[in-house]
């Protein structure tokens, strides 16, 4: 939403000019970094390594394991835990969201527990998860789950409660049972909102995973940067931070782009309801 607002308000009209300035600012930033570290050596490499050193370190750890795994290995193990956490949150969160929208008594009953999960920052669950599961995959998956779960519940509830009553009634009139109504009418109509929930859950989960890996674990990108800290290798931290940011953007872009294929009917739904 932010990007769309920004691009509508003044980024498109002067696109080439803004690209030029942006290019200028980023290259000069890189140049200052390069000159102050590699050429004039104003800053000690222990404090800030040169861009060359960071690129070298990147190439190095793609092939040679750093604290147990190579960079692709750390990436894969991070993605695995993140995937499990988000997947579990989705499997539990969507039905809970539907129930929240349809059965007020269930919502009233579950709300205290839900608000507790919602209001405690996911990172505060890390010590509890460590206590319960130790340094295992389950610890990270639990923290990701806690971060991703509220987004699914809130957005599913929103989507389901906004489904046009007429659609539901029509399905009933044609003889659909509650389950068929849910599967054929309500879920497709609520899908765009659920998809928004998925996007939020994915980025919240990614952030929480990094936090969990920083604190506990023996693999993953967060673990890699904490090892970089312990070995005083700023270059490794830089590689890790860049990889985390880049992967976050990649995942979000993929999810955003694939919406068209996953929900081809979305356009119709929004046209009808709007």
């Amino acid at each position: 939403m932010l990007e769309r607002g920004l691009s509508r308000l003044g980024m498109v009209s002067n696109r080439s000019k803004s690209l030029f300035y942006g290019f200028l600012s980023l290259t000069s930033l890189m140049l200052i970094w390069f000159l102050s570290t590699s050429v004039f050596e104003l800053i000690e490499p222990r404090v800030l390594p040169s861009p060359v050193a960071v690129v070298n370190q990147l190439i190095w750890i793609i092939e040679v394991p750093f604290s147990g795994l190579t960079l692709p290995g750390h990436i894969l193990s991070s993605l695995e835990r993140w995937g499990w956490g988000v997947f579990t949150a989705m499997v539990i969160g969507i039905p809970v969201g539907v129930l929240f929208a349809w059965t007020p008594w269930f919502k009233s009953l579950m709300n205290p527990v839900f608000e507790l999960i919602h209001f405690i920052p996911p990172f505060a669950y890390i010590p509890l998860a460590v206590l319960w599961f130790g340094a295992s995959t389950a610890t990270q998956a639990m923290v990701v789950f806690v971060a991703a779960f509220p987004a699914f519940v809130i957005n599913t509830q929103l989507g389901v409660s906004q489904v046009d009553k007429i659609l539901v009634d029509a399905a009933r009139v044609y003889g659909a049972g509650p389950f068929a109504t849910l599967r054929r009418v309500v879920i497709p109509a609520a899908a765009p909102s659920i998809y928004t929930g998925l996007r939020i859950a994915i980025s919240n989960g990614w952030m929480a995973l990094v936090g969990a890996e920083l604190v506990v674990g023996k693999v993953g990108l967060g673990f890699m940067i904490s090892q970089g800290q312990e070995n005083a290798s700023v270059a490794t931290i830089f590689v890790g931070v860049i990889t985390i940011g880049w992967l976050g953007v990649m995942i979000d872009t993929i999810v955003q782009r694939s919406e068209r294929y996953v929900l081809p009917w979305r356009k119709n739904v929004s046209l009808n309801s709007g």
Binding site: L26, F119, P121, L214, Q229
Partner: protein
């Protein structure tokens, strides 16, 4: 699907909380199905909560831990506001500044703020400054982005009207833009504080000598589950209190916006 009226839904909420406390108590009673090592009973949590106000836990009383957390989160948040609001408004006002600064932010933004923690520890040690700078990074992005959006959201007609009535650039900025942008800035304050609070918890878990996150991680290592729960509840309560405080400020600073901006 129909919403219950206010006072009734409040009572229902209280009743639901009561139900859960009873379930919690039943599950963790001595000889109950959940061992207290994994989840303490409500009485244990309450006793610890009361005791921690007077008797220090890992060096400080509960109040001192709370104050330490609040001090760092508010400091980092305020410094981010001092940097972020003027920069955001300036970026919206002068296009060239935006074209220069914005790409740098676009690159930094996707990185979760807490990924900077190892770097700040390496550069600044485990003192207050390291945590403050992580909180600063976490709060800066919402402050800056929303200040920028706030200026964009100002109705063009208002600016044109100001111009027609003979206002100069500075007057338009201070009298029209900054005031109309106020509600969005309050929303920015809330978002920035939320980010700052949750990032601080992570920072305290990793490197601190006091604070609620520090209490939580130590309690976890010492298997003091009751203390851990006290810390988690306090983190939640303070988070809610800080958000409520900002909503109150909004009612005071920009009373016309309360109905339109408040979310359900």
């Amino acid at each position: 699907m129909d919403r219950l009226p206010g006072s009734k839904s409040f009572l229902v909420g209280i009743a639901a909380i009561g139900c859960w406390v009873i379930v919690w108590w039943w599950l963790t009673r001595s000889g109950g199905p959940v061992p207290t090592l994994y989840f303490p009973s409500p009485e244990d949590v309450w006793t610890k909560f009361v005791r921690m106000w007077t008797r220090p836990y890992i060096g400080s009383t509960l109040l001192e831990h709370i104050l330490s957390s609040l001090y760092i989160v508010l400091f980092g948040w305020a410094v981010a506001a001092v940097v972020g609001i003027p920069l955001g408004i300036a970026m919206a006002w002068w296009k060239k500044l935006k074209w220069i600064v914005f790409p740098i932010f676009q690159i930094i933004r996707p990185v979760p703020p807490l990924a900077w923690i190892p770097l700040t520890i390496l550069w600044l040690g485990i003192g207050d400054i390291a945590r403050m700078s992580v909180v600063f990074i976490a709060a800066l992005v919402p402050w800056l982005m929303n200040s920028m959006l706030a200026v964009y959201s100002v109705d063009k007609i208002l600016i044109d009207a100001g111009k027609t009535l003979g206002a100069n650039d500075r007057q338009i900025l201070t009298r029209i833009v900054c005031r109309t942008a106020l509600p969005t800035l309050v929303a920015a304050a809330r978002m920035a504080l939320g980010n700052a609070w949750s990032t601080l918890v992570a920072a305290e878990i990793l490197a601190a000598t006091a604070g609620l996150g520090y209490v939580a991680v130590n309690a976890s290592q010492l298997l003091d589950t009751d203390v851990l729960l006290v810390a988690m509840f306090m983190i939640a309560i303070l988070g809610i209190a800080l958000t409520a405080l900002i909503s109150l400020t909004q009612r005071y600073l920009a009373p016309w916006s309360v109905t339109s901006v408040q979310r359900g």
